[in-house]
């Protein structure tokens, strides 16, 4: 069926003139977050204090693809600790995960409630020697530029014993598409071989402050030759890509989170984006 091509051309001209006026065309404009906090203390038997502190830069639901992606990552990350989100949502079937206030309050309350129950339970055996649990969840916007956004996540959980444990899991997102960058899509194939020596060097100079591999070996729980890439995804920072190992992953607890940032210039050829 003939439709005047002239009309199609008119539309083309029209389309070009409209192209810049599309709502939400630049996701940078539509991505918004709201800082939501939960800070409460609950008292178990013997007056033991249990603490839950949550602090999240939660994406506002406004159709932003980046927002959707970040929200999914936050809730999946929270859920990876004892399936917290699954528990919350199964008991609130009409709730939605776009409601950040609900998510933060519900997760915080759940943490506290279960902490009190568990601490009470343990106190049956250990009495007032059983300390209170402590949860500190923080998800905050980190480094940002026109093309990427990095989120920094830190989850600290103290469940009795000598010390608590903190897990760091940062994530970088591509603004336009919301795509989260991982090892596989951040680097070209075969990156491990080239990247490991850079990280090793970075750990020596930036974190452990040592000059030789022998000295580095003294700092690690694994042998220098067996050093692997961190389990956590790398993330973009202003001056390079940051690599973070978890506590105990390669070094003792006292060493914290061995971290280094490799300058972008050193990653030319292996960094895909």
């Amino acid at each position: 069926m003939k439709f005047p091509i002239a009309f199609s051309l008119a539309l083309s001209v029209f389309a070009v003139s409209c192209a810049n006026n599309q709502k939400g065309s630049g996701d940078n404009d539509s991505f918004r977050t709201e800082n939501i906090k939960f800070d409460r203390v609950a008292i178990a038997s013997y007056g033991t204090e249990c603490v839950a502190s949550i602090d999240i830069d939660y994406p506002v639901p406004n159709g932003s693809v980046l927002g959707d992606s970040v929200r999914e990552w936050i809730v999946s990350n929270i859920n990876s600790y004892d399936g917290l989100i699954d528990v919350v949502m199964s008991s609130h079937p009409s709730a939605t995960l776009t409601d950040g206030k609900f998510v933060v309050d519900a997760v915080g309350s759940l943490l506290l409630d279960s902490a009190v129950v568990q601490v009470d339970d343990m106190q049956k055996y250990f009495g007032d020697q059983m300390p209170g649990y402590e949860y500190i969840y923080k998800y905050s916007r980190g480094y940002e530029n026109d093309t990427v956004l990095t989120y920094n996540a830190s989850v600290y959980r103290y469940l009795g014993g000598a010390h608590g444990g903190e897990t760091i899991s940062d994530a970088t997102f591509v603004r336009d598409s919301g795509l989260r960058l991982t090892w596989d899509n951040m680097f070209v194939a075969g990156y491990e071989r080239k990247l490991l020596p850079l990280i090793k060097r970075g750990l020596m100079t930036q974190y452990f402050d040592v000059d030789t591999e022998t000295e580095l070996a003294d700092c690690l729980l694994v042998s220098v030759d067996e050093l692997t890439l961190p389990s956590a995804a790398p993330c973009y920072e202003a001056d390079g890509v940051k690599f973070t190992y978890q506590q105990y992953e390669i070094a003792p607890y006292s060493a914290g989170h061995p971290t280094c940032t490799i300058p972008y210039a050193d990653l030319v050829g292996i960094l895909r984006r």
Binding site: I5, A6, A10, A15, E72, S76, N79, L179
Partner: protein, 734 residues
């Protein structure tokens, strides 16, 4: 588990299945499942393996079992599905793709199941019935209801996309919904799209069955869509063993009386989509820049009209027409009109710019049929909502473009909106009138539905923000003939000829060969077919095969000058100038007195290849006689004279060449000539000019000079001088 490790495991299991080593495949599947602690799947593996062992037991005891092959294929299909489930499970926690984002998000959000969404939708649809609205008497209630329905539509689409495999309950609810009158057609189309997108992620027998069912019992609007979707799924999994249920369902599709014409149209639409890139390039590289160049002049002449009307007026305004003729756009427009009439996608370039509205952030919206009561559109100002209703009735744009168009209208001034509305009204009336006049309305309509549907899919796979995460069916050749489940359905050579001709006409020679081969297998020898096959092979560089087909064509039609010429050309390309010459002589005989300059030159070239310099120059002189102004033979003629040591006449010709923008080779040959007449200084100068006219590298020049060693000896130059020349140049370059 890392993506790489998952892929390794998957490939290893597939290899074992392909090698019919099911023992090993079961072992690996079990280990894969146990490593993920998916005990449900492990139980299924155990059950499947038990069935296999029963089958083996019967086979080893020599018990005849006519259904053994079928059972074996069923087992393999089951194993592959289990493998997909394990792969998906392993990928779920970490994979950042939208598919897994959605899957994780849905699982955390305690989202509903497919039957639940269908029930919810049905309730909302009944709430929004006229009776309820009147009872409520409130528009905002209707709006709210609409928005709720749309939310369910999106949720259902996501569920359809990421649910794998569909359960029996899903399958039953979906087939019931697709056959029910409760749900509007657009909603059913959305369901088909969700079924398709999910099927393109992982093979799912029930999805194939649903699509087959919709095709043979669906409405005029849905059946063609289901067919296109089904063809894409079957093509994607053409190398996979399908289970019996899916195969049986596919085998029922030809029961639809429109099957053969539908299959032909669907095939054509899919292959036509491959041409979209070319059409888009034509629009953006050739037509639009010219249009933009004309705009200042247009603006001067039509000061009172806006830019939109300028272009629309051009078909009617004689002044315009003249301007277009002069600018050369008119010819391009004619070509584009022809492309459009053939079904080509001329709007891709236009609307590709308009897919960044936040509306298109939502994946479901790319698959949502356009309807003007969509809440974002229904809530627009009255004049825009009216344009949307007009747009809804036009059969020209695909759904995705209709949304783009209407969403864009919001950004233009009201005066232009009115203008746009009146123009649109006029165009659409004309089109609808043409549609009514169409002789075979049903067929035209089915073809039109498929055409727009393919365009919708094409836009998604080419323009969606995260398109890279999807397996784009339009990058493959979509040769449906290779689908085993459709074997025997392409005996109708008309369909194949139409496809092959399309490819051939649009220069997709490799694709055309694939179809021509199938036609060749199913028809009597046909000279024209062989000629076309020869030509396709020639254009794709397979000269041996090209020659074979041209020779077969010649056997059937010995009188074709075209064929003889191509046979000669192939022989020459294969380094057989004597044979080539033989054929060119036959061409010359057939041309008789009207022997073409082309043939004369070709024969000269053959002589040149055979180092028969005298005969070669004879032909070239003849060519110059036939066309005095032509400079085509000046170079080979100069060379053949040089090789005959006719230095004087060679010199005259090279002087002519000097005036014709000489190339590196020309300077090289002139250097040879100078060397032959012992004018060493000039020789060196020409050689240096050859270097600078080329890539500037002495190495390149050296290799050319060495390649000419034999020719130099022919004119009496000792090749021992070559290294000396090279060193001389080296020294003089310092």
């Amino acid at each position: 588990m890392k993506k790489q490790d998952i892929a390794l495991k998957k490939n290893s299991i597939i290899d074992s299945i392909k090698n019919q080593n099911l023992y090993d495949a079961f072992k690996q599947l079990r280990a894969f499942s146990e490593s993920q602690m998916t005990w449900e799947i492990t139980d299924e593996i155990t059950r499947l393996e038990e069935s296999y062992r029963y089958m083996l037991d019967y086979a080893i005891r020599g018990i005849a079992d006519p259904s053994r092959k079928q059972v074996y294929e069923g087992l393999v299909a089951g194993m592959l599905t289990i493998l997909n489930r394990l792969e998906r499970h392993a990928m779920t926690p970490e994979t950042p793709s939208l598919y897994y984002n959605t899957l994780r998000y849905r699982s955390h959000a305690a989202s509903g199941s497919i039957p639940e969404y269908l029930r919810r939708y049905s309730r909302l649809a009944s709430d929004s019935s006229l009776f309820n609205l009147v009872k409520d008497g409130r528009n905002d209630a209707a709006d709210q209801n609409n928005r709720k329905r749309e939310a369910v539509e999106r949720d259902l689409f996501d569920a359809l996309w990421v649910t794998f495999p569909l359960s029996v309950a899903d399958y039953e609810a979906l087939t019931e919904a697709l056959a029910s009158d409760v749900y509007p057609d657009y909603f059913k189309q959305l369901i088909i799209n969700g079924v398709l997108l999910g099927a393109l992620e992982f093979y799912d027998s029930r999805r194939v069955q649903i699509l087959a069912r919709v095709y043979y019992s669906g409405s005029e609007k849905l059946a063609p869509i289901a067919l296109v979707a089904q063809l894409l799924v079957l093509y994607k999994y053409r190398n996979r063993t399908l289970d019996k249920q899916a195969l049986d369902a596919v085998r029922l599709m030809p029961d639809n009386p429109a099957w053969h014409s539908d299959l032909k149209e669907a095939f054509l639409e899919l292959v036509r989509a491959r041409d979209t890139e070319r059409i888009t390039r034509k629009m953006t590289d050739e037509v639009l820049p010219e249009m933009i160049k004309l705009r200042p002049e247009l603006n001067r002449k039509f000061k009172d009209l806006g830019e939109i009307s300028d272009a629309i007026e051009m078909e009617e305004n004689p002044e315009w027409q003249e301007m277009l003729e002069k600018s050369g756009i008119a010819d391009k427009l004619k070509e584009l009109t022809e492309i459009q009439l053939e079904g080509g996608d001329v709007f891709m370039s236009t609307f590709a710019h308009l897919k960044s509205f936040s509306f298109f952030n939502e994946i479901a919206n790319w698959f949502m049929p356009f309807h003007s009561d969509y809440s974002d559109i229904a809530s627009m100002p009255a004049e825009l909502a009216e344009v949307a209703r007009l747009i809804e009735s036009t059969p020209v744009f695909c759904n995705s473009d209709k949304y783009s168009f209407v969403l864009s209208l919001q950004s233009i001034p009201q005066s232009q909106r009115e203008l746009m509305k009146s123009q649109l009204n006029m165009q659409i009336d004309g089109m609808l009138e043409m549609q009514r006049e169409s002789l075979d309305e049903s067929r035209t309509s089915r073809r039109s539905v498929m055409n727009r549907y393919v365009q919708d899919l094409y836009r998604f796979f080419k323009l969606f923000r995260r398109k890279a995460e999807f397996d784009d069916p339009f990058v493959s050749d979509l040769n449906l003939v290779t689908i085993p489940a459709l074997r025997g359905q392409f005996r109708d050579s008309d369909t194949l000829k139409a496809i092959a001709e399309f490819y051939f006409r649009h220069k997709y020679y490799g694709d055309a060969i694939n179809i021509f081969k199938v036609i060749e297998e199913n028809t009597y020898p046909d000279g024209q077919l062989f000629e076309k096959m020869g030509y396709c092979y020639e254009r794709t560089g397979n000269i041996e095969e090209a020659l074979r087909y041209y020779e077969q064509a010649e056997l059937l039609d010995a009188g074709s000058v075209w064929t003889l010429r191509h046979i000669a050309r192939c022989h020459r390309l294969l380094g057989q100038p004597a044979k080539a010459l033989e054929y060119y002589r036959r061409v010359a005989e057939k041309e008789g007195d009207s022997e073409s300059i082309q043939t004369v030159i070709a024969m000269g070239n053959c002589y040149l290849d055979m180092a028969q310099w005298g005969e070669a120059s004879g032909q070239y002189f003849k060519a110059r006689y036939l066309d005095e102004k032509s400079t085509r033979v000046i170079r080979p003629l100069a060379w053949s004279l040089l090789m005959q040591k006719d230095f004087m006449r060679a010199r005259e010709l090279y002087d002519e060449i000097l005036k014709l923008n000489p190339t590196a080779d020309d300077y090289l040959n002139m250097g040879h000539l100078a060397l032959a007449v012992h004018d060493h200084d000039n020789a060196l100068n020409f050689y240096k000019l050859s270097i600078s006219a080329g890539d500037g590298l002495i190495e390149t020049f050296a290799s050319r000079l060495i390649a000419d060693a034999k020719a130099l000896e022919t004119v009496g130059i000792d090749s021992e001088i070559i290294p000396l020349i090279l060193d001389s140049i080296n020294y003089s370059e310092r």
